[in-house]
Subunit: 491 residues, 2 copies
């Protein structure tokens, strides 16, 4: 039943790359660093989008759309921001091609040079705050709660499917508020929305926290984040929400008249998650047989495979299965009945295991005689025989159970991979031997943070929101520290 | 109650531009030719997307995502295609900015020049067919039915909100088939899907037809289209579906093994509609008071405005209205209860007329006493008093009635603006005096078509699918013609 998939224990990175391609999620394109998201992968992303979009709207946000291009001068208006993004920008300089005079083909027309270069958006704070200046005059225009689903481009030198690509898909929320408190509350709220989504839909436990200054978004006053732990012990930042203070309002001169009629700069947040979540989903649950998908995000929740010899058996099975398919669909369960005669049942079993379909039913001649189905769950690969009268309720039950079980499994993995360490020796030893999050005292300086990063490749993933005050000494410098932070190697 | 909206009879073009901005649909951005789609406008586009996406999936298509960038060499592989798109391309030439040495700011880093320029996709046939080569080996891989929701860029010199913008949002379907017949059937099917959407959701009647050779998509063998007629007598191409033959398969070497094991090039289609539909929607139904939206695409279908003096009256009204809001929502009707105390009822009435909310309810002290609501419909501006026991069924009824009535009104407008003309004098006279579609004999040559265009600005919008065979003479050349085609000035 070979899937020709590298084992995770052999080479985790290779396993990941192979799985993304073999499970028909995505592949590299002819354009450096840009991926093609294939229909099966895109169907998962669409399910993510639908849930997130619902959650954004329930918290009062509206969608809008802003330009793909950002004039170079806009990007430069916020000093930290341009510093953070200038090194990886795709730059549009011309607006026309023409035939080469020597007949050698099509060339860029030198007469069609733009007066000002345009940057393909790496994120949209600048173009959006240039727009908000026109939308905001008074406190009555606030809060302004807007989200955008879009593509963005960051010219990364080393790319990996979903995890780091030159172009990726994401949503970016950009909100404007009358007070600092409201903006902070919004940034915190969106971190909680992301955590809710990660845990209840992706079945992926996350730690909520704030970033250290060095890891903050370019232009932010505070960056809130959710951090997940992958199977290989590396962390993955799954979403960020930034309190931007008045930085962008000042850069783009966005003022409002408050209730007392006084002019003040507007307070801002921005927050985003991207197709990177696809990578997180894969590395949280999947195994050596392929994808394991949480039922709530699986494009196909149940697959039914007929096992038959000849047309007659197949029609008998198809007739029996039809009302079951209808009943499941009426309950909002997505079902595929795979009666293709071009592939054998064993091939199909393999295929749906690889693609992470949560529940598989098989029905053959003996099942027909006994009024049963063979029911297999993807997460444990356990099989059972279920009577047709009980099969619908068993499926409903299994879908819930799988969603819960894979979450608990990931939670248990994380629990056993958070280690308190109290010296730099211990830090290095645990980082090397088992990875995961290292809970350690840190003196709060960027200098120590940088040195630890250089020596170990571990970074501060976050200062957890629920970190308790605790007297201690920085594992590296020995200076006093008031609470532990979480270090890890990260994607 | 001034909306300060130019009257259509005074200056149709100005009316359109003002309405798009005043109704909060879209506005120009700081980037030449690129628009910002504002939340209210985007909400309408989202409703369009949702219906179209459902229709695509019901006809067996899946969504996927392909790169934003196209290597220059790809674009050049299909000769007609590059000819059609090279003149309006945004070209990425560099991948980094840096600080200028003289401290004058941020400049393009000359050391970060791309080896091959990248074009921001104007349409995705080339990058997609380069991908399909990897996906298609055998007839078992066909048909391949894929759609993409994306942004595209065409560097138009003269732009107008929604109608012609440098960047626009659209969907592009790209399908691959084993036979010519299947591909033609697909292209025709999608034209019918578009027509179904235009008529049943946008309430906009359309004429289905094929384009003349000069008006065909660059690279197509046949272009099917739906053509709508705007209130000012100009036509608008609302959607196109192309039969591409084997042109792109040849250009990108996409072959498949047929059932007999023989290699053949794959047959292709592509089809798209864009945010241009927003412009068509506006110019089909709206009036001097603002937008008129078909209930099926209105983000807010019913607005309820309380008319009150003081907090006490407002709470009494709010209490009465709450169960009505719940009941309407439970029926899937989107309702807004606008109890803001920052604006007067008259201001709100104006605002919702401007924004085209199909049904408006008002309730004041006398209504409270009588158990009634004042119910106004946006399309005719008629008002009536409805007892609270009947108000839900009246609203349901009105929403259906408005949807039908505005369709019928647009259909009647089109019926009275299709004129059979039999001489070039008559052609020019009718084109000048009332515009609309001119049904005329044409000799089938590009030469005549071009001359008529030069002399009158009218183009052949389509050769209608239901055109009957009829002996006649070309209105310009007098040469024989077998059927009439439709000319019009067009957006």
């Amino acid at each position: 039943m070979g899937k020709n998939l590298t084992k995770r224990s052999e080479d985790y990175s290779k396993w990941y790359n192979e799985l993304v391609v073999k499970a028909d999620l995505a592949e590299n394109s002819g354009v450096r660093g840009c991926m093609v998201i294939k229909p099966y992968g895109y169907a998962i992303w669409e399910k993510m989008q639908a849930e997130l979009d619902r959650m954004f709207k329930e918290t009062g946000h509206q969608n809008a759309y802003f330009p793909l291009f950002i004039p170079k001068s806009y990007l430069s208006k916020e000093a930290d921001h341009v510093e953070g993004f200038a090194k990886e920008c795709a730059v549009v300089t011309h607006y026309r091609l023409k035939n080469a005079e020597d007949g050698s083909g099509v060339i860029v027309d030198p007469d069609a040079k733009l007066e000002e270069e345009l940057i393909v958006r790496p994120t949209s704070e600048t173009i959006i705050w240039d727009t908000y200046r026109k939308w905001i005059q008074s406190y009555r225009d606030l809060p302004l709660l807007v989200n955008q689903w879009a593509n963005v481009v960051r010219w990364e030198m080393r790319t990996r499917l979903f995890l780091r690509t030159a172009e990726f898909l994401w949503q970016e929320g950009h909100t404007a508020h009358a007070t600092r408190e409201e903006a902070v509350a919004e940034a915190e709220q969106m971190m909680h929305v992301y955590a809710d989504f990660a845990e209840n839909f992706m079945a992926m436990p996350v730690i909520k926290g704030v970033k250290s200054e060095s890891e903050r978004f370019a232009g932010a006053v505070e960056t809130y984040c959710i951090e997940a732990l992958m199977q290989d012990g590396k962390a993955l930042q799954a979403g960020t929400s930034h309190f931007l203070g008045q930085n962008f309002a000042r850069a783009f001169d966005v003022k409002f008249a408050n209730k007392e009629g006084k002019q003040d700069y507007v307070w801002a947040t921005s927050w985003g998650v991207s197709t990177r979540l696809m990578g997180a989903l894969i590395m949280t649950h999947s195994d050596d047989n392929g994808l394991v998908l949480p039922p709530k995000l699986a494009p196909i929740q149940v697959v039914i495979v007929p096992i038959y010899k000849g047309e007659e058996q197949l029609s008998a099975i198809s007739e029996k299965v039809a009302p079951l398919v209808r009943e499941l669909r009426s309950k909002g369960i997505s079902v595929k009945y795979d009666n293709r005669d071009t592939h054998k049942p064993g091939w199909k079993f393999n295929e749906y295991e690889l693609k992470g379909v949560p529940v598989r039913l098989a029905i053959g001649q003996r099942d027909m005689e006994n009024g049963t189905y063979e029911v297999a769950r993807r997460d444990t690969l356990e099989k059972e025989t279920v009577h047709e009268d009980d099969v619908v309720s068993r499926i409903e039950n299994l879908l819930e159970d799988i969603q819960q079980r894979i979450y608990q499994k990931a939670l248990e993995h994380r629990r056993t991979h958070i280690t308190e360490v109290n010296s730099f020796e211990e830090f290095k030893e645990v980082l090397e031997s088992k990875g995961g999050f290292l809970s350690a005292h840190w003196d709060g300086t960027a200098e120590t943070e940088d040195t630890i990063k250089e020596l170990t490749k571990a970074t501060i993933r976050c200062i957890p929101l629920d970190a308790e005050e605790e007297e201690g000494k920085c594992i590296y410098s020995g200076k006093p520290s008031g609470r532990r932070v979480l270090f890890a190697k990260a994607y």
